[in-house]
Amino acid sequence: MYVAVKGGEKAIDTAHQLLAEQRRGDTAVAELTLDQIKNQMTLAVDRVMTEGSLYDRDLAALAIKQARGDLMEAIFLLRAYRTTLPRLATTEPLETDALRIIRRISATFKDLPGGQVLGPTFDYTHRLLDFALAADGEAPVPVPADAAPLEPCPRVTALLNAEGLIEPDLAADDAEPGDITREPPLYPADRAVRLQTLARADEGWLLALGYSTQRGYAKSHPFAGEIRIGSVDVEIIPEELGFPVCIGSIEVAECEMINQFKGSKTTPPQFTRGYGLTFGHGERKAMSMALVDRALRARELGEDITAPAQDEEFVLSHGDTVESSGFTQHLKLPHYVDFQSELVAVRALRAEYDARRRARSGEQGEL
């Protein structure tokens, strides 16, 4: 006797139990605390906040713990939580000119006002495994705080702008920027919508697309004009007050790429911009984003659209990790019915094919 497979409910419960067990691992090892994740896995927290579109270090740490360190899963957790939050206010644009800088470098000028500030970076580490860390290394020696406060750091693009050699920053118009969390994506998209979409896009996707532009698929001659990391105040203007109030500060990484542009009949030869911004210290993502932003400006700048990174609908509609991860993995779900439909069709077509072959070889046999 055959009884159809049952027990989906029980299977799901057991799967959740097993998952919890795997997450915890060996109970002889102390359980990871959120403080440890928040303070020692900072770049993972930064990435989850950026792509999860929610600046909350505690919740990001919780998501990472719950997801067993799978950052895409953690991003999904944060995003699904974020979407249920009420919208209380809209912040003023961040004044990143006033960034309290911990890192600032420019690849375009050897020295410049404010100087090059290397800050905490992997850049010049030799990638040798540090076995001292494996043996519970001692606490690092703190860097003494600089006695003199950092000089003001005018933007590299502002310095070029003073000379008229770079396109002016897009004039702030009165139009409200779109909101990708409240409106369906429609193409062509304006730059504000593009930047929002890139900001929450998968870092790997942007990295690969940005890289492709460097290899000649939409060459844009990029220079890292400036990369800045630091904290910046977030302000809102309460309706009843009418003036800005600081509600806290966040850490951001910002990248301005400077790209060549030949100019046209109406525009003088000048450099063009690409912009990237992330929460936390997401420097690699900010750089990738700036490359892709510039590539996507092809239409606006009258360039030929020939490469994947310039194709707005392609780039924007495939970068969201919550979407791509979900749809790729949905192939795990049962497709018995579709597959059965194909089986029936392929068997029928195959039978006809074989019959035709037999008929043909029969005819040949008669000859």
Partner: protein, 297 residues
Amino acid sequence: MTDTGYNYAYLDEQTKRMIRRAILKAVAVPGYQVPFAGREMPLPYGWGTGGIQVTAAIIGQDDTLKVIDQGADDTTNAVSIRRFFARTAAVKTTEKTVEATVIQTRHRIPETPLTENQIMVYQVPIPEPLRWMEPRETETRKMHALQEYGVMHVKLYEDIARFGHIATTYDYPVMVNDRYLMAPSPIPKFDNPKLNNSPALQLFGAGREKRIYAVPPYTPVKSLDFTDHPFEVQRWDDCCALCGATDSFLDEVITDDKGGRMYVCSDSDYCGDRRAAGHVGPQGVDADAYQRATAAE
């Protein structure tokens, strides 16, 4: 009351209103894909978030919800979605097609005929029937506006040239009310005739692609075909091994590694009803023995 600390049926009221407005416009323009600001749901994209958002926007305390995946109520994703609504909307659930007021489905339409008191909610992965011929939404939007559907006929005709038949077996394209080309979601073409002139309202939700569309009750839905190659549905030489049905969509079950297989109804409720009514297939047992066997699990 629900136990989650979230709003009734998970979505906030503003989001529900936005989805409800999209649904009303979808009903007013049958087969047209209304863009909507789909939200992230606590289940992954591709796992029914569009259907879940539509269900969450329409469902109420008086409803009885049925959820099926591949025709069955007990597949894991159907169980998971049914639990989600039982938990967030405290809604009555059922496995009986005739008891349901809202039926959320992935890949099937129940064999039991639908009624005027029911709403079907389809989970849709790719809402755009023209996608495989033209991936750009900017282009397909124009093609729908101009009712320019030649490429779809060309595609089907190429099948005929190559195979002698139209080779599309599921998500088989349909024309709604003689105006819009529509993807019926990946239901087998076996189910396409049930879309036509259905007494039930049919709603389609694509969460990741952020589109909602609808077929109102009693609306003509025609599967594309050619005069010399009329549309036809799948047929099996076998009947359901459990209930003996010859009129249902059959799943193939591999029983050993020596080519042994049997066919059983994909619609678990339909099959169960038939067995309860005394129908016995070649490998089935009578209703009482079946009851004992399943209760013993």
